[in-house]
């Protein structure tokens, strides 16, 4: 039962990240907007070059780019959380 529920939530996450996210607003978010209003955003830089910068796959120039990035992100988030937490969790007393 739980396994099926987890699978369903992952399906929803994949659909949201790979599909619904294509409809996302590209306007600056609240933090950037406030930074533009008050001036603090102008010193912003990037010290780390990421493999999938700004939720896009470098070299792909269509909607597929951010869709793929979203799908990779969901899989990665689930996988990393599982890997870290399994180490932390104790054996079930069931």
């Amino acid at each position: 039962m739980t396994k099926r529920n987890v699978a369903w939530w992952l399906v929803v996450a994949f659909v949201v990240a790979g599909g619904v996210s294509l409809l996302a607003s590209s306007h600056p978010d609240g933090f950037e907007k406030a930074g533009e209003e008050t001036g603090y955003i102008h010193t912003a830089t990037n010290l780390l070059s990421s493999p999938l910068p700004d939720y896009s796959v470098p070299g792909i120039d269509s909607w597929l780019s951010s869709s793929l990035a979203g799908i990779v992100g969901v899989a990665l988030t689930f996988g990393v959380f599982m890997a870290l937490s399994r180490v932390l969790a104790r054996k079930s007393s069931r």
Partner: protein
């Protein structure tokens, strides 16, 4: 609310990183004591869902601005404060390292804001409202809204402490936008919680709500 590199002063991002590390050490200790193996995939699915939801920026007020879910309240209400810090830290760290969303020097500060302050405030507000027997949807909405607004105030404090801007103007501007973003956070939280509880998420952590 993802702070990029280059804005916070070294003293501030170092302090925020130290504070976050301290709390996360507590989270690790807590989960070694209480986290059960079978709960891990359920929490992982919520982490994945929150990552996905954060990609969906919703437009605000036709004002050329957008906001997105943080998810700190959602994870805290479902699983309790300590597990929520682990879920949110995973999301925020992956965003910074893999997707360049939020700076690498600011990672500790972003963890402090979204993975610690947001779940902490949501937990406190939600517990308080629950003792007044406020319906789940309402307390979920209010807790989520409060978490976003609180995070924007703490963010303003970090900016002010960094010396980039005064606290009052930073807080005024951040608060204004996040008061609206918080409504989105509240709505999504209130809508998702019942679905999550129905799909057996509640057993994952004892401090979470349960059904």
């Amino acid at each position: 609310m993802h702070i990029p590199d280059g804005i916070l002063s070294p003293a501030v991002w170092t302090a925020a990183t130290a504070a976050s590390a301290l709390v996360l050490a507590g989270s690790v200790r807590h989960s070694k004591r209480t986290l059960e193996h079978r709960a891990v995939p359920v929490m992982g699915a919520m982490a994945a869902f929150i990552f996905a939801s954060q990609m969906v920026n919703f437009p605000l007020l036709g004002a050329a601005t957008s906001g997105h879910l943080i998810g700190g309240a959602l994870s805290a209400i479902l699983f309790g404060f300590w597990p929520a810090t682990l879920i949110m830290t995973t999301v925020v760290a992956i965003q910074a390292i893999v997707f360049q969303d939020g700076g690498i020097t600011a990672l500790g500060a972003n963890v402090f804001l979204m993975a610690i302050a947001a779940p902490a405030v949501a937990t406190l507000v939600h517990k308080a409202l629950k003792s007044f027997r406020v319906p789940m949807a309402v307390s979920g909405f209010v807790a989520a809204w409060c978490s976003v607004v609180a995070v924007s105030i703490v963010g303003a404090a970090l900016l002010a402490w960094s010396g980039v801007i005064g606290f009052a103007p930073a807080a005024a501007s951040l608060l204004f936008w996040h008061a609206f973003i918080g409504i989105g956070e509240g709505l999504i939280t209130a809508v998702v919680i019942p679905f999550a509880l129905r799909s057996s998420f509640h057993f994952a952590a004892k401090e979470g709500l349960g059904a």
